[in-house]
């Protein structure tokens, strides 16, 4: 053993400061989630792209200099050119302007539909989970019956009943049973959390019930609800497109991506660009929301925290 100066062998004892310094800095839950989301390149790109789409939907119609319902008789079925950037449809309407106006409708339906369902679902599921027992059984039995019918069939029947022609009736038809999955999901989540040991611990420590709900139940459910809203939005956009395709969606002069795609579909072989633009917008928006949802889910999952 080499020579070591004797003063190195003075007992200095515990060093309280460096003891804890060994572990990495602590980061708050949301901040941590945000950091992880930002590290996820795919999710960040989706988020940016969604911002661009939303921005274009707001200012896009002004850019081309044509109103979306303005008919240009001289240029019917025109291919994309300097005058009409995305071309025109069979009535000679500017597709560029129409795509962004349609986007307003499609996005509104998607976002509003998902939000309404989330709110109703959370309240319903929360009540069922909170009260439990017979209330829970009856409420969940109702949901099971509503859920047992294929979703699109329900939407079709309701849009017939409501004679839906506009955005609001369409959203109503789409949300009338759409909240059921969310309700089931929230209830399951709440029940799972209710039985978690940290809730028991909080209760054992005498934390007041409303504080338990506010501090533990809601934040822990919220993250998963946000994720499922993100996944639901493309579902509603898709349903709207689907309904428009079978003739039950938005009616002229209003338009949506679904309406544009379905009217372009019949002339697809001759003027493929007419289908291309709305179809790409639908696919792109759905893609962005799906990828963003994936990223959010990973970012908000506490199990993945490092």
């Amino acid at each position: 053993m080499q020579n070591i100066p004797i003063e190195k062998f003075q007992i200095t004892g515990l060093n309280e400061n460096s003891m804890e310094a060994a572990s990495r800095p602590q980061v708050g839950y949301l901040r941590d989630a945000w950091m992880r989301l930002r590290k996820n390149k795919v999710a960040t790109a989706s988020l940016i792209l969604l911002f661009v789409i939303v921005l274009m939907v707001m200012i896009g119609p002004k850019l081309s200099g044509y109103a979306f319902e303005q008919i240009d008789k001289t240029a019917r079925n025109a291919a994309p050119c300097a005058k009409h950037w995305f071309g025109t449809d069979k009535l000679g309407r500017d597709i560029f302007a129409r795509v962004w106006i349609s986007g307003r409708v499609s996005l509104t339906i998607g976002v509003l539909g998902a939000l309404i369902c989330a709110v109703i679902g959370c309240i319903y599921g929360g009540i069922a989970a909170y009260f439990g027992g017979a209330v829970d059984t009856v409420m969940m039995r109702i949901v099971e019956i509503l859920i047992s019918v294929p979703y699109l069939i329900v939407v079709i029947v309701f849009s017939l009943v409501l004679q839906s022609k506009g955005i609001l009736t369409l959203i109503l038809a789409m949300t009338i049973t759409g909240w059921c999955t969310m309700a089931r999901f929230v209830r399951a989540q709440m029940l799972a959390i209710k039985n978690e040991e940290y809730i028991l611990a909080a209760q054992a420590l005498g934390v007041r019930p409303w504080k338990v709900i506010l501090r533990h139940m809601i934040p822990n459910t919220l993250s998963t609800v946000i994720v499922s809203i993100t996944f639901d939005i493309p579902g509603y956009i898709f349903s709207e497109a689907f309904l428009s395709y079978i003739g039950l969606g938005i009616q002229p002069p209003n338009t949506s991506w679904g309406v544009m795609a379905s009217s372009a579909q019949s002339v697809f072989t001759f003027y493929p660009y007419q289908l291309f633009f709305p179809a790409v917008m639908i696919a792109l928006t759905m893609l962005c929301f799906t990828l963003l949802g994936d990223g959010l889910r990973d970012a908000l999952d506490p199990k993945l925290r490092k």
């Binding site: 099971e144 019956i145 047992s148 019918v149 294929p150 979703y151 699109l152 069939i153 079709i156 029947v157 309701f158 017939l160 009943v161 004679q163 493309p234 898709f238 497109a241 689907f242 395709y245 079978i246 003739g247 039950l248 679904g258 795609a261 379905s262 579909q265 697809f268 072989t269 493929p272 289908l275 179809a279 639908i282 696919a283 759905m286 893609l287 799906t290 990828l291």
Partner: protein, 309 residues
């Protein structure tokens, strides 16, 4: 187990009854009466006979009982648009066509989806995974009618390999099956991948490896079964996907199936037809859910034995 089955069947009948009733009242609450557009042009006397024929001259509750009574005998009434054709016979005529296309799409799509999902899980973060996830994302985000148009354009119009539409020969099924099956491929690829990754992280997989089983045997005997099991539960929703997808594909490929019929009944305001087919769809789905649940129960010993007690 028998008790559980009986209980579930009772619940199913209750659900069917509720759904049928709700459908009936909803359809009756449509503004204007179902025959209005048809009856407009008819003289007064014929009009009355016309209403009497569909029982619409009677009070609502009587109509309801008549409708429910018919349901028990599988009689869904008569089409308004095509007088003399019963809804039941129309469904019986058109649904096998849809069943053939949808069933083929479902089986092939599920199979391919499961295989792709397995590949993605086993080759995680390598190129096969990325390729599969790309396909899965495409399948989940491209609307059916866009995909169908694309397929028709490429394979029928440009390449001329396959007929763009029509029905009768096996070649007519190729494109619709691809379009319909694509959704199942996407759903299953994603689902199986995550389910398999989940299983691969389980302790019993470690136990199996510690036994000295080859990686192949570990996957085949321990991982596969446990990751496929939960996938059974999403089978009923892919059945729905295929059936509702058929509304679009059957119209686009001119396939005389129930989806095409349903959509044209909607567009033609043929209310008895819409009502009957809606009830049929609901019943089909509810029964399928039950079947899937039972299959799951038979496959999973945990549930099978728990329900025995």
């Amino acid at each position: 187990m028998a008790k559980y089955v009986v209980k579930r069947i009772c619940y199913m009948l209750l659900t069917l009854f509720t759904v049928a009733s709700i459908t009936f009242f909803l359809m009756r609450s449509i503004p204007g009466d179902p025959l209005a557009s048809m009856a407009k042009t008819l003289p007064e006397q014929t009009k009355e006979n016309f209403y009497a024929k569909y029982g619409l001259d009677q009070p609502l509750y009587k109509q309801y009982f008549k409708y429910m009574e018919g349901l028990v005998h599988l009689d869904l009434g008569e089409s308004i648009l095509y007088a003399g054709r019963s809804v039941t016979s129309e469904i019986a005529r058109t649904s096998p066509v849809s069943g053939m296309v949808g069933g083929t799409a479902l089986i092939i799509g599920t199979f391919i989806g499961v295989c792709l999902g397995m590949v993605a899980a086993l080759k995680k973060n390598r190129w096969p995974d990325y390729v599969v996830m790309f396909i899965a994302i495409l399948g989940a985000t491209i609307p059916v009618f866009v995909l169908a148009s694309l397929m028709q354009y490429v394979f029928a119009v440009q390449l001329g390999w396959l007929p763009a539409s029509g029905w009768g020969k096996p070649v007519h099924m190729v494109l619709p099956v691809i379009v319909l099956g694509f959704g199942s491929v996407a759903t299953y690829a994603r689902y199986i991948k995550s389910s398999m990754l989940d299983t691969l992280g389980q302790d019993y997989v470690l136990t199996a490896r510690a036994k000295g089983l080859s990686e192949r045997a570990v996957i085949l005997k321990h991982v596969l079964r446990n990751s496929l099991l939960p996938a059974v539960t999403i089978f009923s929703s892919s059945i729905v996907g295929v059936f509702t997808g058929a509304f679009v594909t059957e119209k686009m490929f001119s396939i005389p199936g129930i989806g095409l019929y349903y959509v044209s009944s909607i567009n033609n305001n043929d209310y008895t037809m819409v009502m009957g087919t809606t009830v049929f769809y609901a019943a089909l789905f509810i029964i399928m859910q039950l079947v899937v649940d039972f299959v799951y129960m038979i496959l999973d010993p945990r549930i099978r034995i728990a329900s025995d007690r």
